[in-house]
Each structure stands twice: as C-alpha cells, then as structure tokens.
C-alpha cells in the first residue's frame, strides 16, 4: 500500500510546527479574503500569492492548501449571509442559504456548510490520495501527442461545453491563447507579439492577468452598476448549532454532494457549477420537505456545499498528476507551483514526493483547522462582511496592485494590470466567462510545446496525433464536446431552469 506510506510521509512533513503554522495562516487568510463579497477562491489565491513569495516551496504550498480551502469556505459564508456568491459554484448555496439566513436560521446554514465542507473535503482528499498514484502511473506512459490531445479536451470543456454560449466561451479561451503567445518562443528564441517592448519578452504573468481580470475587473463592474445592485447583510440570529433534525437532514446530502463533486471535479471537465447544481436538484427531488425548497431548506445548503468542496479537491487530481488546471482556481495553484520552477505532473511525484504528499496531507489538516476555526470565528467573518463597499473595494484594489508592484514594479506591468482590468470589466458586462482566459494563458504555451515536440518526433507527420489510440480517443472526445453544445443548444441551460 504505497499510498499509505506516502501519505504517512506527507503527514510527517505537514505536522512540523512551522508547517502547521503556515497551514493555519493560510486557512485564516484564505477565509478572511474569501469572505469578502465579490472575491472568489481564484482571486483569493491570486491576491495572497505575494504573501508566499519569500517562503520555501514546501511551506508555501502548504499555505496554499489552506488558502484554497479557506477561500472556498469564505465564499459560502458570503453566499449565505448576503446572497452575492463570489463564484457561480456558490450560487446553489446562496439560493437556500440566504433564505435560511433571512428566516433567522443563518447559524445552522453556516454550520451545515462548514461541516459539509469538512466531510466532503476529507472524503475527496482521501479520493485524491488514492487516485493520484494510479493516474501518475497512467500519465508516465503519455507521449507529447497524448498530452496535447488531453489539453484540447480541457480547452473545449472549460470554455464551450457547459457555458451559456459556446461562442462567448471560446472567444474567452482564444483571448487567453493569444495572451499565451506573447513573449520569447521557447524553441527558437524568437519574440512573438512583443512589439519591441522588453517587458513583454517574458510573456504575460498569470497573476497579473488573474488579478486584473478578477479584482480590477470586478471592482469596475460593481462600481458601474452600483445604482442597480443592492446588497443586504443578513445578521446571524439565534443558535449557531444544528438541531438533531438538521443533522438528520444534512448527512445524506453531504455524502451525495461528495459523490457528485469529486468525480466531476476530477474529470478535466472544469468548474464546480455542474456538481453543485446536480446536487441541488437531487436534494430537491429526494427531500421529505419539498415545501421548504425555495424558502430555506437545509439540504439545499448541505448538498451543494459538499459538492463544491469535493469538486475543489477533485480538480487537484488532474492538476497534481497531469499538470492540467481545469478551473481558474487550479490555474492559480499552478501559477503558485511555477513561481518555484515546479511543474506538477508525474515527474514531480517522483522527484519531490515530500512536496506533493506534504501538500495532500496539509489538505487534511487545513480541513480540520477550518472546522475548528470557522464556527467560533463566525462573528469576525460577519464583521468583515460589514465593511462599507467604498472602503472594501478601495482596499481590494490596493491589495491587488500591491501584488504586481511587489513582483515587478514597472509601468508596463502595472499598465497591463489596468488593461486586463478593463478587459475583465467588458467581459463581465457582455457576459463572457473569465476562467477560460486564465486557463488559455496557462495551458496554451504548454499545449503548443507538446504539439511541436510530438511533430518533431514524428518528423512533421500530423498523423501521429491519430496513431496513438489515447490521443485519437481524446481528440474525438474534444471534438464531440465542441460540437455537442451547438447541436443541443447549451447544456448549461439546466442552470437557468433550476431557479
């Protein structure tokens, strides 16, 4: 049982006092930032990257594990108490959770979200620990053409298959791919799309893009429609604790949510929206209290919240074993690895098992810490939610620009940040999804180099892509996933019909 040995080794790394402290800081900061309205987990990770600049890779990744789960949990608190989900995956939670908060049952809603996240996170991390070594064994046999085909699947599913409009999703992806071309071509050393600007030779920084699109773009979007949207913070009244009946109604929903979340997150299908909405509709169908749905049913919080967290752990499977980010948050985690020159994938498992298994073990620890921290500290999180909007967004922008200023204090880099902010604003306004841009930027160059390597090996024969059975199958899947939404007119429409 090599998994147990590896995991035990990882635990030994994770429980070192300094690493426990990093995990604690990560969980705390992740929740504090994730709780702020309008900040989803991807932006939480992007904003907190500078905090980890000076740490060693091990400590930094462990802090990341905490930030990742903390950001997820913080988002659900916001969804329940002010009904502004920072990301679409919290939308299901907001549906029922905010109704519960309005009915004075905010405490149990937060509790079932926290405990459900813990249960789902723990089960899904166990799944990750057992699935990862097996997938690594498969992945070492992958040739460059197989990797290229796999990335095509990820491109299509992230951008086209499950969104509202495949055209707009693909447009976002291609903007990301274009940005990925900027800089020196790694194989021939020739500059592309650099227009003689020396700062562009290094390419576009993922963090600059993500912070620009998510933080600056969001601030511009919120201010542009500040006369339209109204946010109302629901106070947490009454007991925080769940009654016996709440427990009885929650536990099955947690387990079912995990069953939806982990496999779908682990497939390179992208996004936690699908499992959360599947979980929501399942709970609504199976409940003994159908009259409560739409008015604050606890199963409607417990299930989707578990699904959301399980899928967050699930996306770590392709990220760690294949180096394949399938969500904006996973792309930010990949950026965190890359700042140390580490590339997740089968090689990293072989070369730095202490890092990978230390990270996986830290996920367990972060989960426990979240459970212990969150319910007692709920009063503090609520106070963070009460920060007046002008100061909140002013503070977010100060923090957002600080990351760029710390990394590269150049006028070009800051102008790019502002430019991406405008891009993010326009994309929100015209309903283009943001995540495919980030995934395109980070995966585009990798896909290109795999393709070129494959073609070099085959002496330029493109048929090599179809001769490997794995690659041919994956390309066929990508093609079907690309055509399906045009034929079936939007698989994502079930989202709209749910509410």
């Amino acid at each position: 049982m090599e998994t147990f040995a590896a995991l035990a080794h990882g635990m030994a790394v994770a429980v070192q006092p300094m690493n426990l402290l990093y995990a604690l800081i990560g969980v705390f900061l992740g929740t504090a930032v994730g709780v702020l309205p309008g900040i989803g987990p991807a932006l939480t990770v992007a904003l907190l990257l500078p905090v980890t600049y000076k740490l060693d890779p091990g400590g930094s990744l462990i802090m990341f594990a905490g930030i990742y789960y903390g950001g997820m949990y913080g988002g659900s608190t916001t969804a329940i108490l002010i009904n502004t989900p920072g990301e679409s995956a919290s939308m299901a939670t907001a549906l029922e959770g905010n109704k519960m908060a309005k009915a004075g049952r905010g405490g149990p809603a937060l509790a079932t979200a926290a405990i459900g996240s813990f249960v789902a996170g723990t089960l899904a991390t166990i799944g990750l620990a057992f699935l990862a070594p097996w997938l690594v064994d498969v992945a070492v046999r992958f040739g460059p053409e197989d990797y290229f085909a796999l990335m095509c699947v990820a491109f299509v599913t992230v951008s086209a298959t499950f969104g509202d409009s495949p055209i707009r999703g693909l447009t976002s992806l291609f903007i990301g791919l274009t940005l990925g071309l900027v800089g020196i071509d790694k194989l021939t050393g020739q500059p592309r799309l650099s227009f003689g600007v020396p700062e562009l030779l290094d390419g576009v920084e993922v963090t600059t893009l993500a912070v620009g699109l998510f933080a600056v773009g969001e601030a511009l979007y919120v201010v542009s429609r500040r006369h339209h949207a109204e946010e109302k913070l629901e106070p947490v009244r009454g007991s925080l604790w769940m009654t016996a009946q709440d427990w009885k109604r929650s536990w099955k929903a947690w387990l079912r949510g995990t069953m939806f979340g982990f496999p779908i997150g682990a497939l390179p299908a992208g996004g936690a929206e699908i499992p959360t909405f599947l979980s929501y509709s399942t709970e609504r169908r199976l409940t003994n209290y159908p009259q409560e749905f739409g008015k604050g049913a606890i199963e409607g919080v417990a299930g989707p919240e578990a699904a959301n967290n399980a899928s967050a752990a699930g996306t770590l499977v392709p990220l760690l074993t294949l180096g394949l980010p399938t969500s904006a948050t996973a792309a930010m985690m990949l950026a965190g690895f890359q700042q140390y020159g580490l590339n997740p994938g089968p090689l990293l498992f072989a070369e730095r098992p202490d890092l990978v298994w230390g990270l996986i073990a830290s996920l367990f620890i972060a989960n426990v810490m979240l459970l212990v921290l969150n319910l007692p500290l709920v009063g503090l999180w609520v106070k963070l939610l009460a920060i007046p909007q002008p100061w909140l967004y002013a503070g977010i922008l100060v923090f957002a620009t600080m990351g760029t200023i710390a990394a590269k204090p150049s006028v070009v880099e800051l102008s790019m940040l502002a430019g991406f902010g405008v891009l993010g604003f326009l994309m929100r306004r015209f309903d283009f999804p943001i995540a495919p841009v980030v995934v395109g930027l980070i995966l585009g160059p990798i896909a290109e180099s795999q393709l070129r390597r494959a073609l070099q090996i085959s002496l330029g024969d493109p048929m090599t892509l179809l001769q490997s059975p794995m690659s041919a199958t994956l390309l066929a899947i990508a093609l079907i996933a690309l055509i399906a939404p045009f034929v079936m007119k939007g698989l994502g429409r079930f989202k709209a019909s749910e509410d």
């Binding site: 500078p50 905090v51 600049y53 000076k54 509202d164 409009s165 055209i167 707009r168 693909l170 447009t171 291609f174 903007i175 791919l177 274009t178 071309l181 071509d185 021939t188 020739q190 799309l193 600056v216 601030a219 511009l220 201010v223 542009s224 429609r225 500040r226 339209h228 909007q389 002008p390 100061w391 967004y393 002013a394 503070g395 922008l397 100060v398 923090f399 620009t401 600080m402 200023i405 710390a406 204090p409 006028v411 800051l414 940040l417 502002a418 405008v422 604003f425 306004r429 015209f430 309903d431 585009g444 393709l451 070129r452 073609l455 070099q456 002496l459 330029g460 939007g490 429409r493 709209a496």
Partner: protein, 162 residues
Amino acid sequence: MTDGTSNRPAPRRVDRAGLVIALALAVLAAVLVWDASQLQSATTYGMGPGAMPVVVAVGLGLLAIGNLIDALRGNLPPRESADVKAVLLILIGLALLIAIIGFGGGFILATSALFVTTSAAFGRRAIVTDIVIALVLTTLIYLAFDKLLTLSLPSGPLERLL
C-alpha cells in the same frame, strides 16, 4: 441564453457593442498573422514558431464571425446602464498609481491615490477622512510586507521616513 432570446417575439435589433467586439477580434487576428509573418521559420520539419499564432488567428477570425452573427441577431445578453463616471474615476486612480510609481513617488502615495479615488467612485464624499485612512492603511501594509516579509516595495519620500 441563446434559446431564451430566440423565443422572444420582440423585434431584434443589431447590437452595436457586439459589432465592435467582432471587429476587435478580427483586428486581433490580423495582428497575430502580421506578427507571425515577421518571424523567420528555422525549422526543417514540424511546426515553426509562426504556426500556432496562425492557428489562433484562424480561431479568432471564426469567432469574430460568430460574434458578428450574435450581434446582428441581437443575441447579446441584456445590460443595464453603466455609471461611466465612476468607472473613469477608478481608471484615473489606476493612472495616478502608475504615474506615481513611474516617477518614484513610492508605494504609500501611489496606493493611497488609488484608495481615495476608488472610494470616491463608490460614492464616498469624505475625501479628507479617506486620505487619512488610506495613508494609515497603506503605511501598515508597507511595513508588514517590506519589513516583515522582506518583499521589496518601491520607496519614495514617505517610505524613506520610516
């Protein structure tokens, strides 16, 4: 969303913003092709550095057509009126920040300028209070990150006093 709009009996209007988006994508595709044509292809077999940009450009060209069709059909999602002044105010704040960093004014002044303009864009009118809050907050951030975490943040006149 495609379905929702096509069922609506209301007369379809050409969406001007959509036309601009389609045009921008087409221009971007043209820039990619032009830039790729400037590269020298040194490879004997396989893909040169110019191949991928052309592939992406073709994709962008197709998407420009797709977006054009959406715009002509009026298929873009509905939008509310935007508060342009507030958006411009934040952009002015960002421009100030870039200028102050560029001219060596330091982290505290630069981010304080952004803080005050953003807060004003969200409707705050107590400028003096906000300036004080901004200076205190950014000084604390500077101290925490520059001294505690030893990140090097650009220093100007204010930072040298600390």
